[in-house]
């Protein structure tokens, strides 16, 4: 920069030129040379396209946010459903509950096993029928979680008619619950077909099929 400034000649030091100045007529400016409308239109259009694309993209992104929100609340609901049923399964499959039900169905444990040795066909032990006295009621080892579970032999109580509120229960709900997310209600809730309406049914499910065949060892 300082170099450039220094090279500009001072007016006082201007020496007269040795050559004769060359003069020429300035060409006339054409009236037709002004910018054409076409290019302006292209420029404006480009800007508009950029703006609209950006708008669409950001709409897309925030639409995605609502979808994520909706899916996350659905995931939360499914996790809760999983926890509820796995808690039930854990309690139902506890030894206390199984033994109590087995005893209620009249099953007894035979404390004197008898073995058949395949190599020589010898019977080891003397077979004796199991007695009910040898069996367990399954109630001796405490479990606060299973004591309210009815036995399979208990008479079934008819389920009460469902309340209107129950019928309104829907699987997909806001994560914190009280209000479904406003955006989620706006149609992005597509991942929730009507089939996902939850059925409220407590207590053990009675076994209805045939008893599974035991696997012999």
């Amino acid at each position: 920069m300082s170099q450039a400034t220094a090279s500009v000649p001072w007016p006082g030091r201007n020496r007269p030129s040795d050559t004769t100045p060359h003069l020429e007529a300035v060409p006339r400016v054409s009236r037709h040379a002004r910018p054409r409308l076409f290019y302006a239109a292209i420029a404006v259009l480009t800007v508009m396209v950029v703006v609209v694309t950006q708008l669409l993209l950001s709409i897309g992104v925030s639409q995605g946010a609502y979808r994520i929100e909706s899916l996350q609340s659905r995931k939360g609901e499914l996790a809760r459903a999983y926890q509820a049923v796995s808690e039930d399964v854990d309690a139902l499959s506890s030894p206390q509950n199984l033994a109590a039900n087995a005893a209620a169905l009249g099953m007894v444990n035979n404390g004197t096993p008898v073995y058949l040795r395949l190599s020589d066909g010898k019977i080891i032990g003397s077979p004796a029928p199991a007695t009910a006295a040898a069996g367990s009621t399954g109630q001796l080892v405490g479990n606060a979680l299973t004591q309210d579970i009815p036995l399979v032999t208990a008479p079934k109580t008819t389920k009460q008619a469902r309340t209107p509120a129950d019928q309104g229960a829907q699987a997909s709900r806001g994560a914190t619950g009280t209000e479904p997310a406003a955006g989620a209600a706006g149609g992005t809730d597509s991942g929730t077909p009507g089939a996902n309406r939850q059925k409220t049914n407590d207590g053990p499910v009675p076994w209805t099929g045939a008893l599974p065949a035991p696997s012999t060892h």
Partner: protein
């Protein structure tokens, strides 16, 4: 020329100043955007209130077969906003809109939670009475997920819930003594919960986010500041079905015998894994108050008793291994012994002088015979054997609060203790120590560290903290086989054989009974006994070790009290683990000569 130079200098100064300012800004920019970016982000998020905890769940405790013994679940606390509860709200059901008043809503809530409607409305009315704009009134605490879902389905706008983790024990009192429990603020207090807390504990993470006006998180604004770490899954060696069976049997037998407590343990011989560590009474960690506090602990590890005659095989093993005796060593055994002043040893029952072999001494459980032979060995050498069997030091399980028993050095033994230690009095052991000692005898003389956990299964499936299985030899294989052979006679000809059907058909069972006297705390001994039967089957290929201890029975006071339960338990173990019946002939050592 001077003007040109000053002009240049001015320019240079101006540029330098500009550069310095730019540099300062760059430094500050880097500082804000890079160096302190996280801290500032956090501060900003904190000010906006948008910091969320990512909960690290505490890991489950599972049995060897995967049965869940303890797990963390979410429970919900419901809170009302009284300010908004005053006015009825609109609820649309199938396209029609209904007005729902506080009373209606309270009835719906109460029907689900099992409360009275007034229990719902009272906190709200009380809060409103204090402040008409009250924002907080607790409605119901600790409800489970299905109740939560039902309450949420009511769509009551003024009702909200917060969740917290809590611990449930699906199998209740099954292994409740071993699993332990947490206190109200989720701190582990006892058992594996405490001992394996390092494995189980989850660590909370943190994330920040920004929300728009409609409550939806702004895309791309969620930032995990610290990822949560889920707790590992503690895999125990326990067999829950067998543990239940043992506890169920104890619950029948102990009250029948008028005893204070009972314990049943099962250990697999080859790998020293504890498959059952049952006790009665046993706490249900879901409902601790149902059990007296002294039984909240794992008695197998946390109670110590003078073991009594079940200790005799250890002395016999030391004698045989040191070459001081053989299974057929001859002894002349009177019913009492007064070898020196201040020493008195007597057998359980008075009997004429008997000619017993060492086998016979074990079968008849003669204190006199064991004292005669045991003291023939150098005290220090015998003490050394006891130490190597694990007496006097904690087992490898290192259970929280585990006791180490009391075994004094021979130098501090008085004359009576010198004799008494040969037959398991004058020293104390935990049931776990006796299990470890019997495991050593049954496992060909190699002591494998006793274990209660398989390891800690991390989220990626790898097993960490796997206990060592490196065995150490304590006695020779021959000694081990001889001891087991000698103990075969106990169920056939010992005092316990007066019971019908003590033998298990098809299996050679080595067992030893014990009827130990326990100090009453006043320098004497209690009137009732601590009775035990410990045994191994099958002798020709030892697989399982079963121990039964009954504390102070009153209806039957001898080891006969523990006999039937031992047989029931051993039969169930052999059946449950499908152990092959014995094929080898019995050792048949003579008891007398």
């Amino acid at each position: 020329m001077t003007t040109a130079r000053s002009h240049r200098r001015r320019t240079a100064v101006a540029i330098a100043i500009v550069l310095v300012i730019v540099a300062v800004f760059v430094v500050r920019l880097v500082d804000v955007q890079v160096v302190h970016a996280n801290a500032l982000d956090r501060q900003a998020a904190e000010r906006r209130g948008n910091v969320a905890t990512i909960e690290g769940t505490r890991g489950s405790i599972v049995a060897a077969d995967g049965t869940v013994l303890a797990r963390s679940v979410l429970r919900y606390d419901f809170v009302a906003t009284p300010k908004f509860a005053k006015k009825p709200f609109d609820r649309s059901v199938h396209g029609t809109t209904q007005k729902v008043s506080l009373t209606d809503a309270a009835e719906e809530i109460a029907a689900i939670t099992g409360q009275k409607p007034s229990e719902v409305t009272d906190p709200i009315r009380d809060a409103l009475a204090k402040n008409k704009d009250a924002m907080y009134a607790p409605i119901v605490q600790n409800v489970d997920v299905s109740t939560y879902r039902k309450l949420m389905a009511l769509k009551i706008p003024w009702l909200d819930a917060t969740s917290h983790q809590t611990r449930v024990y699906p199998n209740g009192a099954v292994a409740g003594n071993i699993i332990g429990f947490l206190n109200g603020s989720a701190q582990p207090q006892a058992g594996l919960e405490k001992g394996a807390d390092k494995c189980l504990a989850g660590h909370n993470g943190e994330q920040t986010y920004q929300v728009g006006a409609d409550g939806v998180t702004i895309p791309g604004s969620t930032k995990v500041q610290k990822p949560a770490k889920e707790g590992g899954e503690l895999v125990t060696t326990l067999d829950p079905d067998l543990q239940w069976f043992a506890q169920d049997e104890l619950a029948k037998v102990v009250p029948q015998l008028g005893a204070q407590f009972g314990m049943v343990s099962v250990v697999s011989v080859k790998d020293a894994k504890i498959r059952v560590a049952a006790q009665y009474p046993s706490p249900d960690p879901n409902d601790l108050d149902a059990t007296p506090v002294e039984y909240w602990r794992a008695m197998t590890f946390q109670n110590q008793y003078e073991p009594g005659s079940i200790f005799k095989p250890l002395t016999a093993a030391a004698l045989i291994d040191a070459g001081k005796a053989s299974p057929t060593s001859h002894l002349v055994v009177p019913d009492t012994l007064t070898p020196q002043k201040g020493v008195f040893v007597s057998d359980n029952e008075s009997h004429p002088v008997q000619n017993l072999t060492l086998t016979g001494v074990l079968t008849e459980s003669s204190n006199v015979g064991m004292s005669e032979l045991g003291t023939s060995m150098d005290d220090d050498a015998r003490y050394d054997f006891m130490k190597r069997f694990g007496i006097g030091s904690k087992t490898a399980v290192d259970f929280p609060g585990e006791l180490s028993g009391q075994l004094a050095k021979p130098s501090s033994w008085d004359a009576q203790t010198r004799y008494a230690t040969t037959f398991g009095q004058g020293l104390t052991t935990t049931p776990a120590q006796m299990l470890s000692a019997y495991q050593t005898i049954a496992n060909g003389g190699v002591k494998v560290p006793l274990s209660l956990v398989e390891g800690c299964r991390q989220a990626d499936g790898t097993m960490t903290d796997v206990p060592s299985k490196k065995g150490t030899r304590v006695i020779s294989t021959t000694t081990s086989q001889q001891i087991l052979g000698m103990l075969e006679n106990v169920l056939k000809g010992g005092p316990i054989s007066t019971l019908p059907n003590t033998e298990i058909p098809g299996y050679l069972v080595a067992a030893k009974t014990g009827t130990a006297q326990e100090p009453d705390g006043y320098g004497g001994y209690l009137k009732s006994y601590y009775v035990s039967v410990m045994g191994v089957a099958p002798v020709d290929d030892p697989q399982y070790l079963v121990s039964v201890n009954i504390g102070f029975p009153t209806t039957i006071t001898s080891s006969l009290a523990a006999g039937p339960l031992f047989k029931t338990m051993m039969s169930q173990v052999l059946k449950a683990f499908r152990v092959q019946p014995s094929t080898a002939p019995p050792a048949d050592y003579p008891d007398t000569y």
